[in-house]
């Protein structure tokens, strides 16, 4: 059983070195382009100092079991933050999130690994960190190593890996322990064609067991292959929530009209 409910979610990142904007705070929001929401999302105190950045604002949606959600949106639209809130890493500032089912998240390829430790040691650490017993980790070790396809690199420090190798190991570990809710950030597209195919197959068997997939990506083909429903984030708000093909079409159309407007 897996289920996600997000209600009126808002998240603000605090800024501690109290930046003073070099733009005039009164006119800056008016000067900024209509589609660049960066300026409106800065939270200011009474004197105009920037206190923080509002990453998400009034986000609500519900995900039923077996649904595969694709998150789209420009850089800085709040995709990664939303994934981190769903994973329980950042607590919401307003609203709430409930997540039913065992959750695994792969939000940043460089996080959640000890880069001085070997691939094998990281398998142990991540397995234990996701609440598995040592024996369960050992039972899966060979399978993880095989899926990651690292050969003897599995006994070398993760430092020596390429970005693609790190990602393969990360993905192999995360999916080996059969989570109910899988949260993936966009770096999955860093894999080569062969790995993306293997990853897609694994994700579809996983969703076949009525799990939930939340995948953020800039790759339309990856989203089309793996997702059923699309969620378009814009300036920390949900702009569109519809079947993936419709969302991708609208998102691409807006991208084109924006480029056209600028030219």
């Amino acid at each position: 059983m897996s289920h996600i409910l997000v209600q009126d979610l808002a998240v603000t990142y605090p800024l501690f070195n109290r930046a003073r904007s070099s733009l005039d705070t009164q006119t800056a929001p008016l000067d900024a382009g209509e589609d660049f929401g960066g300026t409106q999302r800065l939270v200011r105190d009474k004197r105009g100092y920037i206190k923080g950045v509002r990453a998400l604002d009034g986000v609500s949606f519900e995900v039923e079991q077996g649904e595969r959600i694709g998150l789209v949106g420009a850089n800085g639209s709040g995709k990664t933050t939303l994934l981190q809130v769903l994973a329980g890493i950042y607590p919401p500032e307003e609203g709430f999130v409930t997540v039913e089912g065992r959750t695994t998240s792969l939000v940043n390829i460089n996080l959640g690994m000890r880069s001085e430790a070997t691939g094998n040691q990281n398998i142990t650490l991540r397995g234990l960190a996701s609440g598995r017993k040592r024996s369960e980790v050992e039972a899966r070790r060979a399978e993880i190593a095989a899926f990651a396809g690292l050969g003897e690199f599995i006994d070398l420090p993760v430092d020596t890996y390429s970005a693609g190798m790190r990602m393969r190991l990360n993905f192999a570990i995360a999916t080996a322990f059969e989570p109910d809710v899988l949260i993936l950030d966009e770096w999955l597209s860093a894999g080569d064609a062969k790995f993306r195919k293997a990853a897609s197959e694994r994700m579809s068997t996983f969703v076949g067991r009525a799990g939930i997939l939340v995948l953020a990506s800039h790759s339309a083909s990856l989203l089309q292959a793996n997702c059923t429903r699309g969620l378009w984030l814009h300036d920390g708000r949900v702009r569109m929530d519809a079947p993936i093909d419709d969302v991708l079409a609208a998102y691409e159309a807006s991208g084109k009209s924006q480029t056209a407007a600028q030219e």
Binding site: P92, E100, E116, A117, L125, L128, S130, K133
Partner: protein, 275 residues
């Protein structure tokens, strides 16, 4: 962990209850922090030929050197002074290590805190377990030294058990508290490191408090670390620690736990935003 529903909102897992749950849930992940700590120790010495033996070696070098130069000033015989320094220094390294490690306990784990929703206390236990391993390795040297100087275990030796329990209990709160504060205010980390450097001189490790006159002995007593070291060292030297020392240690323990619980209750869930 079975299938479960988690709710995240502004108030979830905050408050003192959230802190207690965090401590408890982290404790249950014993395999994780044990593996973590052991990996880290091995990693630190991975490229040295002597490896983990460096912990023992550098400890011996300090104790040997200090005993040689300071024994004349202490008024004790060399043999008993070596044991005095070794015991005091081992205790001091453990305690002051908690201050320094505590300041980095969360900042150095940001890679994990921002990737997985683990109980934050896991990082505290990992850091503490690492200090305990180092402490145990040093005791491997200290115990033969004690036997060589003619030490015979007695009933007083058993007092080490409550002392070690107090050390561990203190360490959890100290590291959690300092970890939270220095994640928010980086200056605290620098301040604590600077003070800790000074502490070795104002704590009776290289010198003996009993040899001092009234005013200086009183000044030494104002330093809580004097009492923390005393309750460990005195029983192993065959002396009963003063009641003052027990009272100070227990009092300070309560104060630190109170501060840690209050601080964690209010600010614990802000931690990922601070890193």
């Amino acid at each position: 962990m079975n299938i479960q529903t988690r709710r995240y909102d502004l108030h979830a897992a905050s408050g003192v209850l959230g802190f207690v749950k965090d401590l408890w849930a982290g404790l249950a992940m014993v395999e994780l922090w044990r593996t973590f700590a052991w990996d880290e120790i091995q990693q630190r010495y991975r490229r040295s030929m002597l490896g983990v033996s460096w912990i023992i070696l550098s400890f011996l070098m300090f104790v040997g050197g200090v005993s040689f130069f300071f024994s004349a000033l202490s008024g004790r015989e060399l043999e008993s002074f070596i044991v005095y320094v070794a015991l005091g220094y081992a205790a001091f390294i453990f305690i002051s290590g908690n201050f320094i490690d505590g300041c980095q306990v969360f900042t150095s784990s940001h890679v994990w805190i921002k990737a997985l929703s683990l109980p934050y206390s896991v990082h505290v236990y990992r850091s503490l377990f690492r200090s305990l391993l180092i402490f145990a390795l040093q005791m491997v040297v200290v115990i033969p030294l004690m036997i060589w100087s003619g030490w015979v275990p007695g009933l007083l030796t058993l007092l080490v058990v409550p002392t070690l329990v107090l050390y561990v209990v203190n360490a959890v709160a100290v590291q959690y508290l300092l970890g939270l504060i220095s994640a928010r205010y980086e200056d605290v980390g620098h301040l604590v490191t600077s003070i800790t450097r000074l502490l070795i001189f104002v704590t009776p490790i290289l010198w003996v408090r009993e040899g001092l006159d009234g005013a200086r002995a009183f000044a030494a007593d104002l330093n809580p670390l004097t009492h923390y070291v005393e309750i460990f060292r005195a029983p192993l030297l065959g002396e009963m620690p003063r009641m003052t020392s027990w009272a100070v240690v227990i009092g300070v323990t309560f104060a630190i736990w109170l501060a840690a619980a209050l601080c964690a209750a209010v600010f614990r869930r802000r931690l990922p935003y601070w890193l």
